[in-house]
Amino acid sequence: MSELETASKTSSESAGFNPRRSVGRLLTVVVGMFAFGFALVPLYDVICDVTGLNGKTGDQYTEAISQSADPDRVVTIQFLTNNNADMPWEFRPEVRSIKVHPGELNQTTFYVQNPANRTIMAQAVPSVTPFIAAGYLHKTECFCFEQQELAASESMDMPLRFIIDSEIPEDIETLTLSYTLFDITDRTSGQLAVVDN
């Protein structure tokens, strides 16, 4: 108590010592920076979209297909499939790689089969290397836009339709599109219960 009194009876009283105001300002900074931490999440997504950081591909490409195929250029696109952690599905591309002309619409499929004796929900997460190519890969239809569900021992072919932008830089001759398949059954168990009913 006495310390508090001493502290407030200082020299600086005349200079307008007002801890309340200083503390208020500093607390604003603290709250602001806490919010900034969370703001980094959408900010990060925007930066990834703009720069293709992490090889994130965009959402469904809905613009009219106005590009004409460029018959003089050939770009090789390779498909990779991975299973995350405990994901038991068999997951492979129909073809390992195809040669395409920028600007033309292409289609391929990916095969999945559920060897487990339970229904599993899956989410595929795409990534493109080199990162810079991510912005030039437009997907008009992709199984990664939605969650996929397979009952025990079911299988299916999942479609992918895409266009390589004809603006893609000259030095990119090969790009790799990789999908990682995640088991999200636990995450979506609430929705599954509804489906079962």
Partner: protein, 534 residues
Amino acid sequence: MSSVIEDHHHDDHHHGPAKGIMRWVFTTNHKDIGTLYLWFSFMMFLLGGTFALVIRAELFQPGLQIVEPEFFNQMTTMHGLIMVFGAVMPAFVGLANWLVPMMIGAPDMALPRMNNYSFWILPFAFTMLASTLLMEGGGPNFGWTFYAPLSTTYAPPSVTFFIFAVHLMGISSIMGSINVIVTILNLRAPGMTLMQMPLFVWTWLITAYLLIAVMPVLAGVVTMMLMDIHFGTAFFSAAGGGDPVLFQHVFWFFGHPEVYIMILPAFGVVSAIIPTFTRKKLFGYASMVYATASIAFLSFIVWAHHMFTVGMPLAGELYFMYATMLIAVPTGVKVFNWVATMWQGAMTFETPMLFAIAFVILFTIGGLSGLMLAIAPADFQYHDTYFVVAHFHYVLVPGSIFSIMAAVYYWLPKWTGNMYDETLGKTHFWLSFVGVNVTFFPQHFIGLAGMPRRIPDYALQFADFNMVSSMGAFLFGFSQLFFMFIVIKCIRGGKPATAQVWEGAHGLEWTVPSPAPYHTFTTPDGIDLKEAHG
């Protein structure tokens, strides 16, 4: 001394400390709280050091001898967390509590009650953190950087306690920093301008701003972890649309300024000690202030140099590489100024000075290995090897920790009124100096040869250097018990110290008697600003 006399008339307002344990629980006195912080930090230093010795004992020979790999991982994690948040940071807050008010001629910290809270949060936070080791599934085992998904999807159940402990440490640091800023901006002796403040005060002012800017981001990132673990969000889970790499960006946005939080006050300490024992004014005071501010600013825009191998566009790698290297410029200014201060000075080599000179040399080695790591293409070789371990231990142990020890020896006579035993002090210095170098210098070589960090076992070709490193670690570790002995001996008695203590010491703290009375500068009258900084 005067506190004893004043104790006789404590009827309505007492000026001396209260009696018994409650003195420490309820104290709002900046000197008491500074003492509490320093002892707490020393206990954490011994605890974190014990964990380090478990690590070094296991690594003494290849193969698994002493602990299981799971427990080894908990040791590396807890060692890092305890040393960063429990030892180094509270030690500097303790020094700030003791010294900032005395250096600026203030009667106390501006917010004494909050000061008490910010200290007493810490024992709870660290008890909670340490108790995770006894819980089912063990304590945190994901490294002090707690990268997701190791710390979310694959974390032991005790991770929730870790998260709340980090929240508490953050709250404590933020309250402490607010207190430091408000004190420095409002309670300086009349007429003392910012550019008349001692450098320790300046470096702490800047550190405190760094703390209030980044500790909330740390709180944010652990909150996101908490939500991912318990509330089904997917900030860092790719399966749910999140991104684990985001964790690293947010973490290092906190983490890089954090490493400067642990070194800027050390710069302030060394800038106080070197002029005293060279009997000269500090060379380039203003450039020191600007260099500190520049380092603080740059620390916000270089974080991704910790993530070169994670995946980044080439432009990003180049930007973070060059921006990081830019930090060498203000740091070089500082090292130059310290050396220039010593140039043609009348130097003597008491224990604080020995620690300060060792700081300048060994911190520079740590800084140079940091520059090597900043080179993005080379970093692919160094990343996650013992070279990184050697680098950050060189800046933290003979950097931050040596500066804390230098500060303790330098101001101990002021705090206790007794001189410490110089022979013992110098012995402690040489044991620590040899110990630190024997421990960490070989780690450069095993790192360059490719030994990864955070592993309990290693290939045979690293055996000799690891054995040397472990022997150094035990030497350094046990030397610190000797340090405790020296400090306790000094508290219990010794040659009485004069007010100025050191022949070349300048600053307001040296104008009050030794030991410093319980209350100093209760009125602003008669403060000689010419003494404010050396």
